[in-house]
């Protein structure tokens, strides 16, 4: 499985005062790269709010680990979705805009989401120093320490 992102360049956002709603809908935009086996659920739409996406994935993983049988991520600007269906200790992944169903261990999805979250946090803080002290960033990305 490959879960990654491409963050758009952004020189206009005032990261000191960014709100949670900004992060959910308007800033830290980019592309999702998401391949499960030979299934590609990537979305190169440029407008995907990446902090929202990984915060949502984090919540989805938490719910699946807590016993939920199915969770659906909805994109913010379309009716497109990615569905996660738990089957024993594996997760079946499908998307409204992609073909087929991928299968991954839940533990692998959890680890990939954690890694995504840390890398996104690291890239945002590296490019926008004020983001490190923003409460909404901390709330959605945690106090994740980026990996070396």
């Amino acid at each position: 499985m490959h879960l990654d992102f491409r963050l758009n360049e952004d020189t206009e956002t005032d990261w000191a005062s960014v709100t949670e709603e900004d992060l959910r809908y308007r800033v830290a935009l980019g592309n999702l790269i998401f391949r499960v086996g030979d299934k590609d659920f990537s979305a190169a739409w440029e407008w995907i709010p990446l902090v929202d996406l990984v915060a949502s994935f984090h919540e989805i993983v938490r719910k699946l680990e807590s016993g939920s049988g199915s969770e659906t991520f909805e994109f913010t600007e379309s009716d497109a979705w990615i569905r996660f269906e738990k089957k024993d200790e594996k997760v079946l992944v499908s998307a409204s805009y992609g073909e087929g169903v991928g299968e991954i261990p839940l533990s692998e999805l959890a680890e990939a989401t954690k890694s995504f979250r840390e890398r996104l946090h690291g890239e945002i803080v590296r490019k926008h120093a004020h983001a490190a002290h923003n409460a909404a960033v901390t709330k959605l990305l945690g106090s994740a320490v980026p990996r070396g």
Partner: protein
């Protein structure tokens, strides 16, 4: 969520915002009444919707409104969806409420170019429209 008690007014920002200020700064939108039974379309939200969902928007993977849409017709459609649409809580930690309404006629195109008859709007806890798009 029980919508029936609501008398909904859509109050759109008709006054102009001047100057260039970015996200994260105070949104200077004209007011507008701010009662609990109204939904507000701020200048920022209108810009957001136009950037992604207007007929000439280059954004991919996003529903588009039909050619000929105006700010006034957008406000009317948002108001109708807010009045009559199905409401559900926003998902996975996002705050606010999603309203979806089927106009039973084409209002735009879906992300794969097909006809879209439904409108989804997201309204935050301050009763401000966050986004709106056909699907």
């Amino acid at each position: 969520m029980n919508l029936s008690p609501f008398t909904v007014w859509l109050v759109a920002c008709g006054l102009l915002v001047t100057g260039g200020f970015g996200i994260g700064q105070t949104a200077k939108y004209a007011q507008v009444q701010n009662g609990a039974n109204q939904v507000v379309l701020t200048h920022w939200a209108l810009q957001h919707i136009m950037a992604r969902h207007w007929p000439d928007s280059p954004a991919t993977g996003a529903g588009k409104f039909q050619a000929g849409i105006t700010e006034a017709t957008l406000r009317d459609m948002i108001s109708e969806a807010f009045h009559n649409g199905h409401a559900r809580q926003n998902t996975h930690g996002r705050s606010g409420t999603i309203y979806e309404y089927d106009f039973q006629r084409q209002i735009g195109t879906t992300i794969d170019g097909g006809p879209a008859t439904r409108l989804r709007i997201v309204v935050n806890s301050r009763n401000e429209v966050v986004t709106a798009f056909p699907f």
